[in-house]
């Protein structure tokens, strides 16, 4: 399978013609020509129609169905305002949580500073965002540590077929939940958490390079405990 070219492109760079290709993510069309709208990595495979640009940087763009880690900003009478590390905050309505919350009693369940694993349930045209806790494995988070990373490297942290994240979990024995919105929750012993952090920072720095999975494995192997 032809290796994906890691070509970095910048806004305004010419990528192709609408006659031969289709404009995918991170591009725009002008006068029948496709240009890059972002600083990112070009994905233009032989024999494939779509030209995509995967951004190297940029704020998280919420999409319905995404799993995210939110931090509660404030509790109102029948909802909570939640920071999801996006250009806009998200609304969590009392009907979207697994508890029976009385009107005005929202603070008893979630308060300023609480962290939750949630799912984006709706994004409307004006980018008003709603999230829900009504799904398997969604709940209020306790313990562990939360850090932020560059949302555009989410795929690299997960790896092809989750290979990267599983590698990290194997060597650190930590529970890890990676939010699409550039937040990750890590739970385990102090050493394990520290190793996960190092791995994530390294992936962030070297996201565009090849052979990253091997280098991460080497990093994790250094004074690793016995692997399950």
């Amino acid at each position: 399978m032809p290796e994906e070219k890691r070509e970095i492109v910048i806004p305004s760079q010419f990528l192709g013609d609408v006659k031969k290709n289709k404009a995918g993510h991170g591009t725009f069309i002008e006068n029948g020509k496709i240009y890059s709208a972002r600083l990112g990595i070009l994905s233009k495979r032989e024999g494939e129609e779509y030209i995509n640009v995967t951004p190297l940087k940029g704020r998280y763009d919420p999409i319905e169905g995404d799993f995210v880690i939110g931090i509660v900003e404030e509790a109102s009478a029948s909802s909570w305002l939640v920071d999801i590390n996006a250009p806009y905050p998200a609304l969590l309505h009392v009907n979207e949580v697994p508890w029976d919350v009385e009107f005005g009693e929202t603070e008893k369940y979630l308060n300023h500073g609480d962290s939750i694993m949630a799912k984006i349930s709706q994004v409307d045209v004006a980018k008003k965002i709603q999230i829900t806790l009504k799904d398997r494995n969604l709940y209020k988070i306790k313990g562990g540590h939360i850090i932020e990373f560059e949302p555009s490297i989410y795929r690299r942290i997960m790896g092809k077929k989750y290979s990267m994240i599983e590698l990290i979990q194997k060597y650190t024995r930590c529970r890890i939940f990676v939010g699409k919105n550039g937040r990750v929750w890590i739970d385990g012993d102090a050493e394990g958490i520290e190793k996960v952090l190092q791995a994530i920072y390294k992936i962030e720095r070297e996201a565009i390079t090849f052979g990253l999975t091997n280098r991460i494995e080497e990093l994790l192997k250094k004074d690793a405990k016995d692997v399950r």
């Binding site: 970095i8 910048i10 806004p11 305004s12 600083l39 940087k57 250009p87 806009y88 980018k127 390079t209």
Partner: protein
């Protein structure tokens, strides 16, 4: 204090006070991503100018009444540090800063794909640390790099450059004395891909023919600076790619 009659700005061979020829740019150095908190940033040196640009956003625009339900608003804030000029400038925006902020905001708005972010604002901060004529061009150019560095979707990376007239000669990129004692100053910003003009102001006196010449020259200058911008944006990542 020097007066106009004392200073000879250009000699018979076209050599200017700082040794440049009429179509020479001052030395430019650009570095992207030099700040930690800002989403995107750029440090730029242009002749004796030193400017810093930082981008935050897109984020929900505040106060709420400024929100545009269809797209993001672009807030560029140009400011000169108190110590950036010979006679200390009192901190805070003055009328000149406000005007420059406005024309830069408008220029940036044209190239940013603002309809992807309704109700949001994209905040661009330009700080002049050392001033030597042409700060608004330096500021806008730095802002363009900072916006790309921040991952803001754009149709193009905006760039600016000025041309002017000194002692009857149309020259590129005025220096300090040329700006003070010259006959005209024409800062221009363009979208290099299309050649569209995003910002243009003129001070002084130009005939129609001189204006055409100056505009052509400024646009040529913009393209040269655009190459430097693009190299700066790429070099941050190219060095990472080499580590394999």
């Amino acid at each position: 204090m020097k007066s106009k009659s004392d200073v000879k700005l250009i000699d018979g061979h076209g050599k200017r006070i700082d040794g440049r020829m009429p179509h020479d740019l001052r030395k430019i150095k650009i570095e992207a991503g030099i700040l930690h908190r800002a989403e995107g940033s750029c440090y730029l040196e242009w002749g004796g100018n030193k400017v810093l640009a930082a981008v935050y956003g897109p984020r929900e625009a505040v106060p709420k009444h400024t929100q545009n339900p269809l797209r993001a608003i672009v807030n560029a804030r140009y400011n000169m540090a108190a110590f950036s000029v010979e006679d200390r400038k009192k901190p805070g925006p003055d009328r000149r800063s406000r005007e420059i902020s406005k024309v830069i905001s408008e220029a940036l708005e044209k190239v940013i794909l603002t309809d992807q972010f309704p109700r949001a604002s994209i905040d661009v901060n330009i700080e002049v640390l050392d001033a030597e004529a042409g700060t608004r061009c330096a500021g806008l150019t730095a802002a363009g790099v900072a916006l790309a560095d921040a991952g803001i979707p754009m149709k193009d990376i905006p760039v600016a450059c000025a041309a002017g007239k000194i002692e009857g000669h149309v020259v590129l990129d005025l220096g300090k004395e040329e700006d003070n004692f010259g006959d005209a100053d024409l800062p221009v910003a363009i979208s290099p891909r299309t050649g569209e003009i995003l910002l243009m102001q003129m001070d002084g006196h130009l005939t129609l023919k001189e204006f055409d010449e100056a505009l052509d020259l400024a646009i040529k200058g913009c393209h040269a600076v655009s190459d430097i911008q693009k190299k700066a944006i790429m070099s941050k990542y190219e060095s990472v790619l080499e580590v394999e």
